[in-house]
């Protein structure tokens, strides 16, 4: 049952991404609107899928890479759809949906079924850590996507290019607000998630974990976004500067995470 739901969610994600990219290609907002509803359906299937994983008859939560990555996709999609209700900037999906699709591809990859979290480590603290860290990073992804769109729109307006693309992209002020909200909500959520992880590691792993590459990079992400939020709230950074730095930090973190995954051994690798 779970596998059918996962496949349906995957198919709808694929369809939604195609729709969003088509919208960007033909520079019309209608495919983006339809794609938003397709993503809502995918989100629905994924929700049921994850619910069934949670209440499985075995009585414990099995977190394999499929569950983990589909959970990440679910959070990113959920955060994006919640933003949609508030901002109505559907074209943002053209930037977010490929990320959701990538997470779904990772979930469907050949490693699927591998247990990421050993059973003895499962507990409410691990779950809180996982949920909050993923949700926090999803909000950062959203903030960075809004930043990328800001850079494009800013360039079109500065160079006086009244193109279809400019009409399709949301207003600068709206994009800046999405970036602001992404950071404002993402930072405390990630902080709480990290805190839960630290408490858990302190009890379970006792030593060695502060030097773990994944912990170091996540702390770096936390510090980088904390710096951005500070500059925005206290110094008053806005607009293009925030957009550029958000994107730069996001790219840097993406590269770093990939590096950690492929080049270092980490305590977070539960083979």
């Amino acid at each position: 049952m779970e596998i059918i739901l996962f496949k349906l969610a995957f198919a709808f994600c694929l369809l939604s991404t195609a729709g969003y990219l088509l919208s960007l290609l033909i520079k019309k907002v209608v495919p983006a609107k339809i794609s938003t509803w397709i993503l809502v359906i995918a989100f629905g299937f994924l929700t049921i899928n994850l619910f069934l994983v949670m209440v499985n008859p075995a009585g414990y939560i099995k977190i394999g890479s499929r569950e983990f990555f589909s959970f990440c996709a679910w959070v990113v999609a959920g955060v994006y759809l919640a933003f949609q209700m508030k901002t109505k900037t559907r074209i943002l999906g053209s930037f977010i949906s490929p990320i959701i699709l990538l997470l779904m591809i990772a979930a469907a990859g050949r490693e699927s079924g591998r247990s990421l979290v050993p059973e003895d480590m499962l507990g409410w603290l691990t779950l809180v850590h996982l949920v909050l860290v993923v949700a926090g990073e999803a909000l950062f992804i959203l903030a960075s996507c809004a930043g990328a769109m800001f850079i494009i729109q800013n360039s079109l307006l500065k160079h006086k290019k009244s193109s279809h693309m400019s009409r399709l992209l949301p207003a600068l002020h709206d994009l800046d607000r999405i970036n602001h909200l992404g950071l404002l909500w993402g930072f405390p959520v990630l902080t709480l998630g990290l805190f839960a992880g630290i408490v858990f590691a302190g009890y379970t792993w006792e030593s060695g974990w502060p030097g773990d590459p994944k912990v170091i990079w996540t702390s770096a992400a936390w510090a980088a976004y904390g710096f951005l939020l500070h500059q925005r709230l206290a110094i008053g950074w806005k607009g293009i500067r925030m957009a550029v730095i958000s994107c730069a930090v996001f790219i840097l973190l993406l590269l770093s995470y990939s590096g950690v995954r492929f080049c270092f051994s980490t305590l977070h690798d539960f083979v």
Partner: protein, 420 residues
């Protein structure tokens, strides 16, 4: 026959349009008087600042067309020469095409403007109130509205602004999204700045500050917009508050320097700033546009956008013309079907189909009957149906030679839902 007579901004000078407009405005019952003219069955009168037109269904006699022209000329007090030179007359397919193009704003002074459709709808509403339209014009007008709607939704003819002030407002929305709660600073009290300010006020900005060398002139404009007037010396404070700045003074050097913008930008906490410089020579240092989060557009930039949009509209107009042609063809096909013979055939086919379906349904309880009984039932049904159809068909045949047959045919098609 459908006939359309009138004049517009392309065929008549303003003086003639004014004269005809004034003459026709006094006549509130014009459609009724028109239908009273011998040979005119239905009529609608359209009057806007750029066109005055009468749309009618007439009996097809050439004499009626002359009467129609004389009627319009007399209503507006036009001389015979003016009537000959300025009035245009379209019949049947050309009249339909012209009406569809007018409703779709392809014949407007500013192509793609949206006001004309509302004006045609108003004219139709007035005609309906006076009961001066019938089946043919009703259908024609609904088709015209449908055409206009298709042109609006299937082409981008009305998407891009084609005036400098509208282009400025559109850009402001591209920067700020909603303009609600935004503050506008107008430097100088020029006509263009006033017009742009007016558009911005209409789009919901919260406050307007007028800065001018002459405080008295600034106060007059500020009062008009319910804003406040400041002197040019207080420009720095005003720039700190403003989100949008429109400048159009006659000054020979820059009023707003790039340094000033850099200085106030920190005080403004890096908020987005939209500068519109419509003065010649320019009021705002072009270097100000290089400052972070500042967007500077001068009159040439805005005019380029307008020109680009106008060209885009012309391209879209080609698509719109294709839609108009398609709708004209559909309408003409419908009119042709208003001949009595196809309607009679359709009516008979529909009734025969009903009889056939009912006999199939009755098959279950008729299965006990023998062949002879079954044939008798069918003969009885056909006989009843033929008797019921006899009178409508006879009337349709008799009236087909008459001018008013279109009404009866249209009514029959509506009563029996033959167009579905």
């Amino acid at each position: 026959m459908i006939a359309l007579i009138g004049l517009n901004h392309k065929t008549a000078p303003l003086a003639v349009r004014e004269k005809l407009f004034a003459g026709c405005q006094e006549e509130s019952d014009l459609p009724v008087r028109l239908t009273a003219v011998c040979g005119i069955r239905e009529a609608m009168f359209l009057s806007t600042c750029n066109r005055i037109e009468i749309l009618t269904r007439i009996d097809g006699q050439e004499e009626t067309l002359y009467k129609l022209r004389d009627f319009l000329a007399a209503s507006g007090g036009l001389t015979p020469e003016e009537a000959r030179d300025c009035l245009y007359l379209y019949c049947d397919e050309n009249a339909v095409r012209h009406l569809f193009r007018v409703a779709a704003s392809l014949d407007s002074l500013v192509m793609g403007e949206t006001q004309i459709l509302g004006q045609v709808k108003d004219a139709y509403r007035r005609a309906l109130e006076k009961n001066s339209t019938g089946a043919v014009l009703n259908r024609l007008l609904h088709r015209a509205f449908r055409t206009a709607k298709r042109v609006r939704s299937e082409t981008a003819i009305a998407v891009n602004p084609v005036s400098v002030s509208f282009a400025a407002v559109t850009l402001a929305k591209k920067i700020f999204g909603s303009l609600t709660g935004k503050e506008v600073l107008v430097i100088g009290a020029g006509e263009m700045a006033e017009l742009t300010g007016m558009h911005l006020v209409a789009n919901g900005i919260s406050g307007i500050i007028i800065a001018n060398r002459s405080q008295a002139q600034a106060s007059v404009l500020a009062e008009k917009f319910h804003g406040r007037a400041v002197s040019l010396e207080a420009l720095r404070e005003a720039l700190t508050e403003a989100d949008i700045v429109i400048s159009s003074t006659g000054a020979s050097s820059y009023i707003v320097s790039a340094d000033l913008i850099r200085q106030v930008h920190h005080q403004r906490k890096n908020r987005l700033l939209f500068l519109i410089d419509i003065a010649v020579p320019r009021d705002i240092d072009p270097q100000a546009g290089a400052v972070e989060n500042v967007y500077l557009y001068n009159i040439d930039n805005l005019q380029d956008i307008v020109d680009e949009n106008m060209n885009a509209r012309k391209k879209e107009a080609l698509k719109a013309e294709a839609i108009v042609e398609e709708e004209v063809k559909n309408y003409i096909n419908w009119v042709k079907e208003l001949d009595a013979v196809p309607t009679i055939v359709l009516l008979r086919n529909k009734v025969e189909e009903i009889v056939r379906l009912e006999l199939v349904k009755a098959g279950s309880w008729m299965k006990d009957m023998n062949e002879t009984e079954r044939q008798k039932v069918e003969i009885l049904i056909n006989s009843i149906v033929n008797k019921l159809l006899h009178n409508p068909v006879t009337v349709l045949k008799e009236e087909s030679s008459e001018f008013k047959s279109a009404d009866i045919v249209a009514l029959t098609r509506q009563l029996f839902r033959l167009d579905e």
